[in-house]
Subunit: 102 residues, 2 copies
């Protein structure tokens, strides 16, 4: 079965891109140990330092949704929200066909 992918942007308030990215990097540490997580990439838009992109690959959507209940994730989300310029949108849902590192 193909894996579940998600690629979405979190827009930080002006000048808060690095602070938001730092929180998301903590989340990536936390979430990468979650069941079914293959990738939780944190990137900055090369053209806009306040646009932070998260690229995720999970065994299933269910594994992804469950990870939001992990201890510590809620606290990180509440740290991140005040730094955001807009309410996060779900992002692009992908059916991952292949190409993950072995």
């Amino acid at each position: 079965m193909n894996k579940y992918g998600l690629h979405g942007k979190l827009q930080a308030k002006d000048g808060n891109g690095d602070a938001l990215a730092a929180i998301l990097l903590q989340a990536s540490q936390l979430v990468s140990t979650a069941k079914g997580c293959h990738l939780y990439l944190v990137s900055k838009d090369a053209q806009n330092p306040d646009s932070i992109w998260i690229t995720e690959v999970w065994n299933s959507k269910e594994d992804h949704d469950n990870s939001l209940q992990l201890d510590g994730v809620g606290a990180l989300i509440s740290q991140a929200i005040p730094l955001m310029a807009d309410k996060p949108t779900k992002g692009l849902e992908l059916e991952v066909l292949g190409g993950l590192p072995a």
Copy 2:
């Protein structure tokens, strides 16, 4: 130094998404052995089976650009072009901050 990321869409002609993805999966096998390649993910847009997304992470833009000269890549590109509805655009360039699998 942060890694170089690229996330772009290749739009297949109607009904050609699977055929295009198959070629790109071959490319991902080839390219994943290239110097500096950490990720070459091939995904299908969950809402549009003819939209194929490539998510790449490289040590540098230079490594990415060099990979286009690899034996076999040119042949795959010429196989892919007739299946595409539009000329491919460069895609979103990203500064990858972290979260790659160990």
